[in-house]
Each structure stands twice: as structure tokens, then as C-alpha cells.
């Protein structure tokens, strides 16, 4: 397995393979059901969840509708607090900036806090080309990095791995990267976490440069916020001399007070905790406490395209909690890799095609990777109407494709359904042919139904014919 998503098949094929993988199905089912239960419990503790959700949505809408104002405000505040602000229009620009900043320190190693933005721009690969080694320090990211695997979940990129697989990866690979796994490593999560602690300890204590993302950036004060659990974030944000934070331009919130909303919404939606173990906030640099050299890289990389779409814009409200992945019945069965992006699940199905466009077969298939059941919208802490955006994007895919077999079939169906007389004729024709329709083996595209499902008996008479007959007094 390679570390990137280039050359992935379209969603249906990749998902189909995943449904046959019993181990994967079991791992995902167990993990998603565990976290669903925890989230539901801590959300139900708050009587004002609906009000918090409405406020979170409104704050993000305010931010997005006036993003230019807030970006300039953030830049000014960070600079005033002793930080340096850089702007990157795309992945290449962001990678070049970070590479240049690391090189300026003379270091060839960096420690990293889990960050979706840096995964999105494939920063580790870019740094490697420049001879700089990036060490992922979040446990799940470490598992992915050591296993030369791809992330499959926003919060827990190694969710597709169970404890036995993780032990195997640690035993096999840790020695190549540094401190080897201890002898007789068990598959107990506690022991695996301890192995990660020992493996990374020296890296943290000697690191000179760290790269992070941020969960929030407060425009008013220039404050960055990182929520985490393990303490790897604190290590990276505190001990090195240089800190480089790559932050998507949609991560802004206007005021410090706004955090009172998100610091309640995010932990409960994400890990199902009242509060995550550690949250760090910093504003520029503080003499004698933490990195003296702080750089903020503001990343566009397609976000302004999303912003320009009045229906799709709401996708930028996302705070990357993963609640939509954890509740999604499609994600649970298809797994994260099938989405071919660092953003899997329902949010990925709307974000990826907007960030990357729908020119590839994979990206064009993502808006259809949903049964539109609406569970994602229900749990979203910032009320992104994911089904609405999915349907909107399906429209764009259809527009972009021109004449297809599906287009013709849909047109024909629309023509029949467009008039009650035509519909009546079609129903009568179907009623006459009912004996000829096989229940279990439809030919052509119909096989997609009958491969796994019987088709219902076609009635002799449609409802409208029955009603018409009833009107004539034939049937009462």
C-alpha cells in the first residue's frame, strides 16, 4: 500500500472490496459503535446542545461571510504578538514555505502534531524530498506512518487497524525509525501506548522544530488552539525552538469568547468526552515559555472555491470532529480508504469534490457515496446539511458529464413520469409483461439490484387503474 491516494479506483469499486474484508468490517464496526455510544452519552448531558449547535453554526457563518476581514485581523494580531504570518495559495506554495523555514533552522528533522491540513498538502512527502524527516507523533498517525499506510479517519487515522495489527506494525518497524518496540510487546492498548511513549520520548526532548495545524485561530487576539489527548501536541507546541503551524483559512473564529461554544461542541462530538485531556492555546511567542520563533502559514488550497459556492460554502464550517464518519452506515462498511482522500466519510464526500473538483472518476463518484439517510446532518455540531450539499454536487457532476447512458435513462423516465397518460400506458405494459420478469436475475444494469435482492411481483393493475375502475363502480 502506498502513502498517497493517487490512482485510486472510484468509490463503488473500492467500497465493494472493503465490504468483503471481514477483518476491516469488524474493526470499523467495533470502533464506530463504541464512539457513537460515548458521543450520544455526553451530548445528552447538555440540555442546551441545540443552542450550542445553532451558535456554532452562526459563528462560522459570520466568519465565512466576512473571511477577508477576519484574515487580515488575524494576521495583524499574530504579527503584533511576535509571530510571522505566511500565505499559501496552494499545496506547493505551503510546502515550499515550510521547507524554507525548516531549512533556515539548519535542522533535518521535525516533530509533527496531527494535522489534517498538512496531510492534505502531503507535507511529509515534500519535506522528505528536501531531505527533512517528519516524525508523526500522534499515536494513530504514528501507526499509519510506520505501517506505510494511508489514513482512513479524520480523528483516528488508523481506525481500520485493530490491536493485533498495531502490535505487528510496531514490532516490525519501530527499530527502523528509532527506539525499537519492547520485547514481548502485548496487544493491550495500554502496552501499545507505552511503546509509543518510549519510542517518541527522545524525539520530543531533542526536537528543535515542530509542525502543527490548529483547530481554531482567533482573529481578534491572534490565538491558535490545538485540542489533543496524548500530550504529543503539548510536547511539539512547547519544547522546540521553532513552531510552524499550517492552518486552513476556514479555521478562523472571530472572538475569544466564541471558543466557549466550540470548546463544548468539539470534544463531545469528537472523542465523546466532556473535554479532551489537553488543549493548548498560544498567541505569538512568549519569552522564556515555548518556541521563540512562531510561523503561521495560512492555507487556501481550494477553500476559496468552496467559499464561492453558496450551497457548498457551509462545508467550510466543518471543525473536523468526525461525528459524521462515526455515525455513517456507508463509512462503517466502506472504510475510509475508499474515499480516496484524507477527508473520508460524509464530510469527505462533500469536501473532496469541492477542493479537488470532479474531473477524476473517483472524485465524481464521491457525491454518490451516500444513501442520503441524514444521520450525518443530525450529529454535525455545526449543522452542515451534508445531504443538501451531496445532492447539489450530484447536480454538478451530472452537468459536467454531458450525455451518458444514465442521462438518457433519466430523461426517458422523466418523459414517462411527465404525463399521467404515458405513465398509465407504461404501467399497463409492465402489468402485461409481469410473467416475463425474472425475480432473481435481471439482465443488464438491473443485475445491480437482483445480485442480492429479489424484485417484487409486478401487479396486474396499477393503483390509478384500480381507482378508475372503482369510479365506474366495477370494484368497491
Amino acid at each position: 500500500m502506498s502513502g498517497t491516494f493517487v490512482g485510486m479506483p472510484a468509490f463503488p469499486e473500492a467500497a465493494s472490496a472493503a465490504t468483503q474484508n471481514a477483518q476491516l468490517r469488524h474493526n470499523l464496526r467495533k470502533a464506530t459503535h463504541t464512539i457513537r455510544g460515548k458521543r450520544a452519552a455526553v451530548v445528552s448531558e447538555l440540555d442546551d446542545w441545540a443552542e450550542l449547535r445553532a451558535a456554532g453554526k452562526a459563528i462560522k457563518d459570520r466568519t465565512l461571510r466576512h473571511l477577508d476581514v477576519y484574515l487580515e485581523q488575524l494576521e495583524e494580531a499574530v504579527t503584533a504578538a511576535g509571530g510571522h504570518v505566511h500565505w499559501a495559495a496552494d499545496a506547493a506554495e505551503a510546502n515550499a514555505i515550510v521547507t524554507r523555514l525548516v531549512r533556515a533552522t539548519g535542522e533535518t528533522e521535525v516533530v509533527k502534531v496531527k494535522s489534517m491540513a498538512t496531510q492534505e498538502i502531503e507535507l511529509n512527502e515534500a519535506l522528505a524530498e528536501a531531505g527533512i524527516t517528519a516524525y508523526e507523533t500522534d499515536l494513530a498517525e504514528l501507526i499509519v506512518q510506520l505501517g506505510e499506510d494511508r489514513p482512513s479517519h479524520i480523528l483516528v487515522p488508523a481506525i481500520h487497524r485493530n490491536r493485533a495489527e498495531i502490535r505487528e506494525i510496531f514490532n516490525r518497524t519501530m527499530a527502523e525509525w528509532g527506539v525499537p518496540a519492547p520485547a514481548n510487546l502485548s496487544d493491550e492498548p495500554r502496552a501499545l501506548a507505552e511503546a509509543a511513549r518510549v519510542h517518541l520520548r527522545d524525539k520530543f526532548l531533542n526536537a528543535k522544530v515542530a509542525v502543527s495545524g490548529a483547530n481554531f485561530a482567533v482573529a481578534e487576539t491572534g490565538t491558535l488552539v490545538v485540542l489533543e489527548s496524548e500530550g504529543n501536541g503539548r510536547m511539539c507546541l512547547t519544547l522546540p525552538e521553532t513552531l510552524i503551524s499550517v492552518v486552513g483559512i476556514e479555521k478562523l473564529v472571530p472572538t475569544w469568547q466564541d471558543l466557549e461554544v466550540f470548546m463544548q461542541l468539539l470534544p463531545r462530538s469528537s472523542t465523546g468526552e466532556r473535554m479532551n485531556p489537553y488543549t493548548s492555546t498560544w498567541t505569538g511567542s512568549t519569552p522564556g515559555d515555548g518556541p521563540g520563533d512562531f510561523h503561521l502559514v495560512l492555507l487556501d488550497n481550494g477553500r476559496t472555491d468552496v467559499l464561492a459556492d453558496e450551497v457548498g460554502r457551509q462545508s467550510l464550517r466543518c471543525i473536523r470532529c468526525s461525528a459524521c464518519l462515526n455515525i455513517c452506515p456507508v463509512y462503517e462498511r466502506a472504510g475510509g480508504h475508499a474515499y480516496g482522500s484524507v477527508y473520508p466519510g460524509p464530510i469527505g464526500a462533500i469536501l473532496t469534490p469541492q477542493l479537488r473538483g470532479t474531473s477524476s472518476e473517483l472524485d465524481a463518484s464521491l457525491p454518490y457515496a451516500s444513501s442520503l439517510c441524514g444521520a450525518c446532518y443530525e450529529v454535525c455540531p455545526v449543522a452542515i446539511d451534508i445531504p443538501e450539499v451531496l445532492v447539489h454536487l450530484r447536480g454538478k457532476v451530472v452537468e459536467g458529464k454531458g450525455t451518458t447512458v444514465e442521462r438518457v435513462a433519466m430523461g426517458a423516465a422523466g418523459w414517462v413520469l411527465g404525463d399521467e397518460k404515458r405513465l398509465g400506458l407504461a404501467q399497463r405494459a409492465a402489468g402485461k409483461a409481469r410473467g416475463l420478469v425474472p425475480k432473481r436475475h435481471l439482465p443488464g444494469p438491473g443485475a445491480a439490484w437482483t445480485d442480492t435482492r429479489d424484485i417484487p411481483d409486478i401487479p396486474e393493475e396499477s393503483f390509478r387503474d384500480w381507482w378508475a375502475g372503482r369510479g365506474r363502480g366495477q370494484q368497491r
Partner: protein, 245 residues
């Protein structure tokens, strides 16, 4: 009360029994059912698959056909939800379709809403001496917000034993064209739903949407599970004199 029936194209063509049951039930309760003949389809399949213009054409026909009715019954959760939730945003803002669709949308009801909220009845005098489990279909549950209306109606049916379905609120995997475009995931979801259904030991799986029932029922039939699927209307129409089973 005079109730306009929007039968829906799927019920009309494939499940006329549901429509007949609706008529029998509402007439038994003393109401008048009318069937505007020009009706065809709400456009849900086109809309949800990305064929917005085709859906708009069908919506135009729908709003013209039903413009003059105050109470419109759609015995399909997803079709009712299509009109109620999506019609207000189907036309270009300020267009004639937008105005007409927004006006008609709130008048469209699911059967359980019509009975419980408008007609004020939960005991419809039905008799159905069977073990039943209920699947709350996604659009009924999350878009229409039907809540416990369907199960309140079922609990009031004489002889009926209602058993709880594990994972009830999880999608069955139908999802319209999703069932074909993502056949494998749809089938995996359907087989999980079918497994939960058979685990209840119910004779009958009930829902308010025949499309979902076609998918789960087709899966159950393929497994030769021996469980029937029935629309809520068919159970509520059942009486001692005219039993459904």
C-alpha cells in the same frame, strides 16, 4: 375531511395494495379520499441523483395538480419529505415554481401525521394478530420527524405484538439510485438490517416507505427468511372482517 391522495409513482406502479389500504382505512374513519388524476411523480429520484431540471418539471406538474388541496396525503415517507423539505428549494428563488412549491410543501403529510396530528386518532380500530417489528425509515425519521407516531398507531392495533428492532434508526441501505450505484455497500447495509429483523422473530416488518421495504424485503426473500414486509397503511386497514393476513 376531504383528503387528496398523492399515491406516489412507486406505490401506483408496484404497490397498489398500499393505496387501496389507505382508501379503505380513511373511508372507514369517515373521510373522503380524492385522487387527482393528473398526478405522476414528485421527482425525488431525479432530484436526489442530480437531475434537477427533470425534477423541476415533475415538481411543476405536482404543484399544479395539488394546488387546490388543503390536506395532501403521501403514503411514502421519502416522497412526503421530498415535497416538504426539498420543494421550498427546488425552484429558482422568486420563480413561479418557487412560490407554488413553497406554498404546497407544508400541506403534504405522511399517513401517521395525517392520522395522529390532523385527524386526532391513534386507535383506528384495526385488528392484526401478528408479531410485528417497525423500521423507522430515514426520511420519515430525520426529515419529517415522525417520532413515535407510527409506533403509537401500531400499539393501538388489537392483537398486534410490537417488538423492538435493534439498530432501528440505521439506514437500510436503499437510498434510491444508491442501491444500484453502490450496490455492494447497499447490500451490506440491507443484510445487516435483515439480520436484525429476523432476530426479532417478527412475522412482519412494517415501515412507512415501500421503497425501503422493497429493498429489505427483497433481501429477506433472497435469504428465504420467511418475513413479510408491509406498509403501515396495510396493517391499519386490517380488521377482523377484512384481515390483511
Amino acid at each position: 375531511m376531504r383528503i387528496a391522495l398523492f399515491i406516489t409513482c412507486v406505490n401506483d406502479t408496484l404497490f397498489p395494495g398500499t393505496g387501496k389500504a389507505v382508501v379503505r382505512l380513511l373511508e372507514r374513519l369517515g373521510h373522503e379520499v380524492v385522487f387527482p388524476a393528473a398526478q405522476t411523480c414528485c421527482g425525488q429520484m431525479h432530484y436526489n441523483t442530480g437531475y434537477r431540471r427533470d425534477a423541476q418539471r415533475l415538481a411543476v406538474r405536482f404543484v399544479e395538480t395539488f394546488a387546490d388541496y388543503d390536506v395532501i396525503l403521501a403514503p411514502s415517507g421519502s416522497c412526503a419529505a421530498m415535497v416538504r423539505d426539498n420543494y421550498p428549494r427546488i425552484g429558482a428563488p422568486g420563480s413561479r415554481l418557487d412560490t407554488a412549491a413553497t406554498a404546497v410543501a407544508p400541506r403534504v403529510l405522511d399517513l401517521s401525521e395525517l392520522l395522529v396530528d390532523v385527524l386526532g386518532v391513534t386507535d383506528v380500530g384495526a385488528y392484526f394478530p401478528h408479531r410485528v417489528t417497525y423500521h423507522p425509515t430515514c426520511h420519515g425519521l430525520r426529515m419529517l420527524g415522525l417520532g413515535d407516531r407510527p409506533t403509537r398507531l401500531l400499539r393501538a392495533v388489537r392483537g398486534l405484538e410490537l417488538v423492538e428492532l435493534e439498530g432501528a434508526e440505521e439506514c437500510c441501505g436503499f437510498g434510491g439510485t444508491f442501491a444500484m450505484k453502490n450496490e455492494a455497500v447497499s447490500a451490506a447495509m440491507g443484510s445487516d438490517k435483515a439480520r436484525h429483523v429476523t432476530a426479532t422473530g417478527a412475522e412482519v416488518l412494517c415501515a412507512v416507505d415501500n421503497s425501503c421495504l422493497m429493498h429489505v424485503g427483497g433481501t429477506l426473500d433472497r435469504q428465504r427468511a420467511g418475513v413479510r414486509v408491509m406498509h403501515l397503511a396495510e396493517i391499519l386497514a386490517s380488521t377482523e372482517k377484512e384481515p390483511a393476513l
